[in-house]
């Protein structure tokens, strides 16, 4: 019984924090925070941050980190966007349109997967430390994005494509549904499959896991591919929602996704973290984000606050780890 409570304690604490934050934001802007338009706006924004956070979380649980999720999304988004624009022409039949949009989505996802594989090879096979490896791919991808777009935007997509990010299905935004779907799938993967099992073990102790017969390299490769895939879905939604894609988009999401992962119980050193925790973390951050927006905070002020929260989140995570540890006796 006690153990059960312990496992759910983190989630309960997070849930409590969520309620506190939501109430706080509501108190600060009573008319606007819990209003229909605001809730709807949050429902549209959560999927992008949410998918990026899941992409970051899954890499962090292995004990690594994926700093390239945003730039990966941009490059794949640009590629898909360019393809879409080149395929689409006036007077296209519905079937052809669907095919074009599907092709674009496949390209986005495909390139994300390839980038993920690159990261996985560098980090899993070449054994480059994750920070350095993903930093390097991030640098390269950023440069590629600027090179291809020359700093400009690719914009103006057909309605069929815009539907992904803006469409509503049964009263709920499609993007939100997609996010939940992937969250559930990821949770199943982490909790019920050997792959997920191995991810946690590698994150806790890579050597002992290797000595137990697990193929670490392959697991890491797969995991970074997964991370890439998730950021590819985020890219699709983002490009669709903004109806454009530009090299400078989304840079704020990097810090935020790390913040969300940490809030959600993912440990920077690896081996810990749950999808449920990350989801609540996303909701907490979104409350803050929307709340700040309503209160009229500038993007810069918000950025500064995220920075502060990042440090605070680490302090909390550190204190949490300290109190659970059994002190060594001899």
């Amino acid at each position: 019984m006690r153990l059960l409570a312990g496992r759910y304690r983190t989630l309960l604490t997070l849930g409590a924090i969520l309620v506190v934050v939501a109430v706080l934001m509501w108190v600060l802007s009573p008319d606007r925070f819990l209003s229909g338009p605001n809730l709807q706006s949050m429902a549209y924004q959560i999927p992008i941050l949410g998918l990026f956070s899941l992409a970051m979380a899954v890499a962090m649980i292995t004990g690594g980190i994926n700093l390239s999720i945003i730039s990966s999304a941009i490059v794949s988004g640009v590629a898909g966007a360019l393809l879409l624009k080149s395929l689409v022409h006036a007077g296209m039949g519905a079937f052809q349109m669907t095919a074009a949009v599907t092709a674009a989505i496949l390209v986005i996802l495909g390139i994300s997967v390839i980038i993920g594989a690159l990261n996985g090879l560098i980090i899993g096979y070449a054994k480059v430390p994750a920070v350095l490896g993903s930093l390097a791919t991030m640098t390269m991808l950023q440069g590629l994005a600027i090179g291809i777009t020359k700093g400009g935007a690719v914009s103006g997509f057909p309605e069929a494509f815009q539907f992904i990010g803006l469409g509503v299905v049964g009263g709920v935004p499609l993007a939100f549904v997609l996010f939940l779907l992937f969250a559930v799938l990821l949770s199943l993967l982490l909790n019920r499959t050997p792959w997920g099992f191995s991810i946690y073990m590698i994150g806790s102790n890579e050597r002992a896991t290797l000595y137990s017969g697990i193929n670490n390299r392959a697991i890491l490769l797969r995991t970074y591919v997964l991370s890439g895939l998730l950021s590819g879905v985020a890219a699709t939604i983002m490009t669709s929602q903004f109806d454009s894609i530009k090299a400078s988009y989304g840079s704020a999401y990097l810090l935020q996704s790390i913040l969300v992962a940490l809030l959600g119980g993912v440990s920077a050193s690896g081996g810990q973290g749950t999808v449920s925790g990350v989801v609540i973390g996303i909701l907490i951050l979104q409350c803050f984000s929307s709340g700040f927006n309503i209160l009229g905070f500038s993007t810069f002020l918000t950025t500064a606050i995220w920075g502060l929260m990042l440090i605070l989140a680490m302090v909390v995570s550190f204190v949490r780890e300290r109190s659970v540890q059994t002190p060594s006796i001899v």
Binding site: P129, L135, G143, L255, W306, F318
Partner: protein
């Protein structure tokens, strides 16, 4: 002498690559191989170069700093605002940027040491805090009208020549500053106790604390040092671009870190050299200059930087693995086995 030969290996690779690239570029555009071009390249690299020296010291100690671009931005902004409001001279300008850098760096150092949070996350946070706070206060305005004495200073050369077209070129004052920073840092790392302390805590923090090194103090020193150098670098930047634009520096962190890593510094600490860092920055300068001279648009330069960084870490990783595999663990007895 053996240390020297081991060290030289990585730097040697860099020198060879630089030489090969130079030959290649010169064959396409022989303007590359002129003194004027060389001095110009070095002058333009001095901003990144000074930042890179700061990053080297942080990496050697086993830490990392992502906030140095924000520190540089705050420093130059404070300097600019002060000079325009109250007037001043060179000494005042240097003092302001240096002190700002030290203070902001100290914040990083204290948080990293006292709160025991990984430096990458702390500095990711302070990057946002410093930059965000500055932008909120400064409202993102640019500063254009720099005083004449500053502009004159920026044009200063140690030694000058005149070229065919009639314009002057020479060893810029910024290059001199960079050279001084390189020399001082080298001496610091080699001959100052605190410098050896940096290597020690980068090599083994546990051994360092047991030996009696004051880790907190050395870390504080390191983050203040990069802070100070970031401030000085920002002054170079202002001199080079002749304006203070708050968003012109932030975002370049990766390029600087890339150059330092290319120069042989290890992200886990304890390994790296001033010479290597200089060569790393110089190599990137050669690549950038080469791309320009061979008429590749500037839009692709960042991509090339990224690819070079990627290749260099892959090569470093492979070399490390080969070294590990060839480590002799057992002095095996040769000859025939006994029956």
């Amino acid at each position: 002498m053996r240390i020297a030969s081991i060290l030289k290996r990585h730097e040697l690779y860099l020198i060879v690559i630089i030489a090969l690239l130079s030959v290649l570029i010169t064959s396409i555009n022989h303007h590359f191989a002129t003194l004027e071009n060389l001095l110009d390249m070095l002058k333009l690299s001095s901003f990144t170069g000074v930042l890179a020296v700061g990053v080297l010291v942080v990496l050697l100690s086993g830490g990392i700093d992502l906030s140095f671009t924000a520190i540089a931005t705050v420093a130059m902004y404070l300097m600019g605002s002060y000079i325009l409001t109250f007037g001043g001279n060179l000494l005042v300008a240097i003092l302001i940027v240096a002190v700002t850098g030290i203070v902001l760096g100290a914040i990083n150092g204290v948080i990293v040491h006292k709160l025991e949070i990984p430096a990458i996350i702390v500095t990711l946070g302070t990057l946002s805090i410093f930059y965000g706070a500055l932008m909120v206060i400064a409202q993102g305005r640019d500063i254009y009208n720099l005083p004449q004495w500053f502009r004159d200073f920026a044009k200063l050369n140690l030694v000058s020549w005149r070229n065919v077209g009639g314009s002057t070129y020479g060893i810029s004052i910024f290059l001199v500053i960079w050279a001084v920073v390189l020399a001082v840092t080298w001496a610091l790392l080699r001959y100052a106790s605190v410098g050896r302390g940096v290597f020690a805590i980068g090599g083994s923090p546990l051994a360092a604390s047991r030996a009696g090194y004051r880790i907190g103090r050395i870390q504080l020193f390191v983050y203040c040092y990069i802070g100070m150098l970031s401030g000085i670098a920002s002054m170079i930047h202002v001199g080079l671009v002749d304006q203070i634009a708050p968003h012109s520096i932030v975002g370049k962190e990766l390029v600087v870190i890339a150059a330092v890593v290319l120069g042989g510094a290890s992200l886990s600490g304890g390994k790296g050299s001033v010479l290597g860092t200089f060569l790393g920055v110089f190599l990137f300068a050669v690549i950038g200059n080469g791309l320009t001279l061979t008429r590749v648009t500037s839009y692709w330069q960042d991509a090339v930087t990224g690819i070079v960084l990627l290749l260099s870490i892959l090569i470093a990783a492979f070399r490390e693995r080969r070294r590990e595999k060839s480590l002799v663990r057992v002095n095996v007895e040769e000859g025939k086995a006994k029956a």
